[in-house]
Symmetry: C2
Subunit: 231 residues, 2 copies
DNA sequence: TAGTGTTTGTATCTTAAGCTACAAACATCA
DNA sequence: TGATGTTTGTAGCTTAAGATACAAACACTA
C-alpha cells in the first residue's frame, strides 16, 4: 500500500509533496498503529488529542443514545478520518465512538501541533492549516445543500431539485446520479416506492425519462420551475 | 456603541483582551465602513478577501436562484458576520449576496492574514485562528443536530426529540424552548397547526404539559422512548 | 379598559406519501 | 443458459400531516 497516494487523497493533505508528507512524522508527531477487528479507537466523551486517518481497513462510528444503546452513525474507510471536527469544538471530546470493523492501520497526527506554527517554520504546516479550514468550510457547504433537500416537502420538489442541481453541475441534459434508487431515496429521506411513483409520474408528464442511474431531462424549463418553486 | 463588547460577543474574538482587539487594525488589516440601506456589501461569485462583521445595523443575505430571482436566505445583525465560511472553501467566492437593510457599520478583517502567522508573532493571531476553527467546527455540529430533526418523519418523533434534547441540555423537567410555536414549527420544518395538534395529543397522553414557551415533562421515560425510537 | 396586534388553539377537508408485499427486469456468474 | 441475487417498478390501503380559516387567549399600550 502506498501511504503517499492515500494521504494525498485525504483532504487534509491536498497539495502536499511526498517530502512534505514525510515531515508529518516529526513535525506533526505522526505515528501509525495497527488494530484488529473490534478494537475501540475513539470513545465518546474522551478528549481528542489526535486526528486519526484510516490507511487501511474499515471502521464504524457509533453514537450513544440517552438510554445507553449504541447507534451506528456512519462508516469510515481508507482515506477517511475521525476526530477532525471534534478536535476543534468547545470541549474537544469525541461525540462518537469509533470501532474497527476490519483490521486497520491508523495514522495519527497531533491536533495541538496543527494549530501552532512549528519551530521549523515549515510550509507544510501552513498548508495543513489551510486544508483543515477548507475541509471544515466545505463540510458546512455540503451540509447546507443536503439540508435543502430535507426541507423541501413535496416529493416532486425534492426530486426536481436534485435533478436540476445535477443538471447544473454536470452541464448536460443527460445526467448521472451516482447512486441507485435506494440510496437516492435515503439521501432525500423518503421511501423508495413513493419516490419511484413520483419519478414515473414525472416521466408521464414528459419532464424526464430514465433508465437506472441515467436520467434524461426532457423539459428543462419545467424542471427548473419545479426546483425553484420547491418548498 | 462599544466595539470591544460587541466584538467579544463574536465567536472569532472569544477570549480576546481589549488590547488584543486593538491589534486587529494593524495586524489583520482591520477597517470599518459605514453603509446606508440598500447597499450591496457582498456579491455572489465575487472573491472573498475579507470577513465582514456587522457592528451596527442589519443586513439580509440572498442567494440567486438559477432563474435569476433572488431569494432571502437569512438575516445578519450586530455581532454577526458574513464570508466567514466562503473564505475557506474551494473557490473562495461568496455564495450569497449581502445587502444592508438598516444603516450599518461593518468591520472587515483580511482573510489572508488570518491564516498566516504575522510578522509580529502576536498571540492574538493564534487565538483568532483557533477561534476560527472552533467557529467552523461548531457550526458543523449544530448543522448535524438540525438535520437530525429534519430527518425524523413523524410529528411526535420530532417534537419528542426536540423536547428531550432540551431536557438533557437544561437538566430539569421544566424546560424552556426559547422560541414560540411559529419558530418551533419552522425549525422542525412542519406546519404550525399540525404541530400544535400533536402537542395537544401528547398532553392528552400525559407526556407533557405546557403553557407558552414553558414545557413540563410529565413522563420522561416515555419521552425518551419516543425520542430514541424516532425516525 | 378598550382597542389593537400577536400568538396559540381548533375544526374540517384533502391529499400526498408511507408501508407492505409482490412482480418484473436486470446483472452476474457458474 | 439457467439459477441466484439485486435492483426497480407496481398496487392497494391507510393515515398522518398539510392547508385554510377562524376563534380564543394573551400582551401591549394609549
Amino acid at each position: 500500500m502506498n501511504i503517499f497516494k492515500l494521504l494525498k487523497k485525504n483532504k487534509l493533505f491536498y497539495n502536499f509533496e511526498d517530502k512534505e508528507i514525510n515531515k508529518i512524522f516529526d513535525c506533526l508527531h505522526g505515528h501509525i498503529n495497527k488494530y484488529s477487528r473490534g478494537r475501540v479507537v475513539a470513545e465518546i466523551g474522551q478528549p481528542v488529542e489526535e486526528i486519526g486517518i484510516l490507511l487501511t481497513g474499515a471502521a464504524v462510528k457509533f453514537i450513544k443514545k440517552p438510554n445507553g444503546e449504541l447507534e451506528n452513525c456512519g462508516e469510515i474507510f481508507a482515506g477517511d478520518m475521525f476526530g477532525e471536527v471534534e478536535a476543534y469544538t468547545g470541549d474537544r471530546t469525541f461525540n462518537s465512538s469509533v470501532v474497527i470493523a476490519e483490521e486497520a492501520t491508523v495514522l495519527y497526527i497531533s491536533v495541538a501541533t496543527i494549530v501552532k506554527q512549528c519551530s521549523n517554520n515549515c510550509p507544510c504546516h501552513q498548508k495543513l492549516l489551510e486544508n483543515t479550514l477548507s475541509c471544515l468550510a466545505e463540510r458546512i457547504d455540503t451540509m447546507g445543500v443536503d439540508a435543502k433537500y430535507l426541507k423541501i416537502k413535496s416529493m416532486r420538489g425534492k426530486i426536481s431539485k436534485l435533478f436540476y442541481d445535477k443538471y447544473l453541475a454536470q452541464g448536460t441534459e443527460t445526467i448521472h446520479l451516482g447512486f441507485n434508487r435506494n440510496e437516492m431515496a435515503e439521501y432525500l429521506n423518503v421511501s423508495r416506492p413513493s419516490m419511484s411513483r413520483e419519478m414515473i409520474a414525472m416521466r408521464e408528464d414528459g419532464i424526464i425519462k430514465f433508465r437506472k442511474d441515467e436520467i434524461v431531462i426532457l423539459n428543462v424549463d419545467e424542471l427548473q420551475r419545479l426546483a425553484n418553486e420547491a418548498r
